[in-house]
């Protein structure tokens, strides 16, 4: 008989290995360390807004490359930010559907807690209506997970058992509960960001035409 637990270990390690390539390390001039996810192969990264508060942002990739990053936009309320680096063919995370998450499902959080690069913790989805729960007294959308996030986990990927990105981890929570921004909230943020940048460009074009 196949040893299920050994097979479980093998599968889990495989998922983590695949996802890890889309995890990067964010450093700032103050020596702080956070995490980010490669969202698009052309150099679009997603992290937490609270990770990019200091200047001098650098991104360290899994292959050791270090590139300067610029802030494309951020949303303090949802604690998400978009960064850009000069890159192409970067290994992206497969985007999952965070609206399909159910309590009890297994998830993995990847990040660089306390500067330990590429570490992973496993847990389950506690609930998907952060609103109305006792975890946080606000009506934002959160994925609540029963795993411990640490400084340095912020901005890292939360993935499902298929390795698909379902959230961006934040650590602004209690010691034994993790919160993540659902990917559909990130998608909404990116859509708004795209529109406002388009407008800015229209404005710029208009000025140029005048």
């Amino acid at each position: 008989m196949v040893n299920l637990l050994q097979e479980l270990n093998r599968e889990t390690a495989g998922v983590i290995e695949r996802v890890r390539s889309s995890l990067v390390e964010i450093r700032n001039s103050g020596g702080g360390v956070g995490s980010a996810v490669i969202w698009h192969s052309n150099g679009l990264l997603i992290t937490n807004a609270h990770v990019i508060q200091r200047k001098g942002l650098e991104v360290r990739f899994r292959d050791g490359r270090i590139l300067p990053a610029r802030v494309l936009g951020y949303d303090d309320e949802n604690d998400i930010a978009a960064l850009g680096v000069e890159g192409h063919d970067l290994p992206v995370a497969e985007i999952g559907d965070s609206r399909e998450l159910r309590p009890g499902q297994c998830v993995f959080a990847l990040g660089n807690p306390w500067g330990v690069i590429g570490s992973v913790t496993a847990g389950i989805v506690v609930g998907t209506d952060g609103a109305g729960s006792n975890m946080r007294a606000d009506d934002r959308e959160w994925i609540v997970v029963d795993l411990q996030l640490r400084p340095g986990n912020s901005g890292g990927p939360l993935v499902d058992v298929g390795g698909r990105l379902v959230g961006i981890n934040t650590m602004i929570s209690g010691p034994e509960v993790g919160l993540a921004v659902p990917t559909h909230v990130v998608q909404g943020f990116l859509a708004r960001l795209g529109e406002s940048r388009m407008k800015q460009r229209d404005q710029a074009d208009h000025n140029w035409l005048a």
Binding site: L4, E7, L8, E11, T12, G14, V15, R102, P103, G104, Q105, C106, G123, I124, V125, V126, G127, T128, D129, A131, G132, S133, N134, M135, V144, D146, D160, V161, G162, G163, E176, V177
Partner: protein, 297 residues
């Protein structure tokens, strides 16, 4: 590709799905709601006593999203259990697991409904053991400890197995660890509350402290310790039996009283009204009184 991992994940989410119709929200204290378990379709809810901080304006949040009024039928602080009657019909009661199948190391989920949706945390069974007594003297038929994290509002919710069948009711009220009150205890306490409106508990009316007996006395009565009476309540069963301050209780019904636990064990509800021989030591001499166990009000 990740067949087993996916099965595990879907299996756990499935267990939550299966159990969630019997998990309700209990609104009975300021701000922080707790959880409860549907006991029967007629609206009886069992929950944790410590989350009930008021007796009026109780509400129960149902899985279908409705919030209905509820009344407190009764509560038992000693086992941290309370029974509510919600104004609702056709509820889905919890399905219960066969207790004997639970083993240390099994995966378990704690469920709660502090908000609208059901919430879950995962852990394993840490310890199983014989019956135990809570600090307030409540009898719990089986020791079931897990490492599930009890988030705020999870007290009163069920511990479920991987099939979604309930193993008991979770409480964070005792010992600072996650303990589950098993079905047999729930059944006993709920039945008693539904019948009498309360849990009957035997009562003697003495405060005691364990003391070591002098060697000669220890040999005479055949035990090394007894219970020194430090106060006797007026008109209590002990007072009526003639127990005096300074007496040392050493036996009841022919069984030794060596520790407070042994005294508490003899005060179970089925002993109420029963007259039994009480062996004491007074002035260095063993003697016998007759104690009729009363009911704690």
């Amino acid at each position: 590709m990740t067949e087993i991992l996916s099965s595990l994940s879907n299996g756990l989410a499935g267990a939550v799905d299966a159990a969630s119709p019997a998990v309700v929200r209990v609104e009975a204290r300021p701000r922080l709601a707790g959880s409860g378990i549907v006991w029967n379709p007629e609206g009886i809810i069992v929950t944790a006593q410590h989350i009930i901080e008021r007796e009026d304006n109780l509400k129960v949040g149902l899985p279908d999203g409705r919030t209905v009024p509820a009344v407190l039928v009764g509560a038992d602080q000693a086992t941290d259990l309370a029974v509510l009657r919600a104004e609702a019909k056709d509820l889905t009661p919890a399905g219960w697991a066969e207790a004997a199948n639970t083993r240390v190391g099994h995966l378990v989920l704690a469920l709660g409904r502090p908000g609208r949706g059901v919430q879950a945390t995962l852990g394993i069974v840490s310890a199983l053991g014989e019956g135990w007594r809570t600090p307030a003297g409540g009898n719990v038929d089986r020791y079931l400890q897990t490492d599930v994290v009890m988030y705020p509002g999870f007290s009163g919710g069920p511990l479920v197995d991987v099939e979604g069948e309930a193993l008991g009711l979770n409480t964070s009220a005792f010992r600072g660890v996650s303990l589950t009150i098993p079905l047999t205890t729930l059944r006993r306490v709920v039945d008693m509350i539904l019948t009498f409106g309360r849990v009957r508990r035997g009562y003697g009316g003495v405060a005691t402290q364990p003391v070591r007996l002098p060697e000669a006395l220890a040999q005479q009565v055949g035990q090394e310790t007894g219970l020194l009476v430090v106060s006797v309540e007026a008109s209590s069963p002990a007072d009526s039996a003639g127990v005096l301050l300074g007496d040392i209780l050493v036996g009841l019904e022919g069984k030794p009283l060596r520790s407070l636990d042994e005294l508490l064990a003899s005060l179970s509800d089925d002993r109420i009204g029963v007259a039994m021989p009480l062996t004491i030591v007074r002035g260095g001499q063993a003697r016998e009184l007759t104690l009729t166990i009363g009911e704690r009000s």
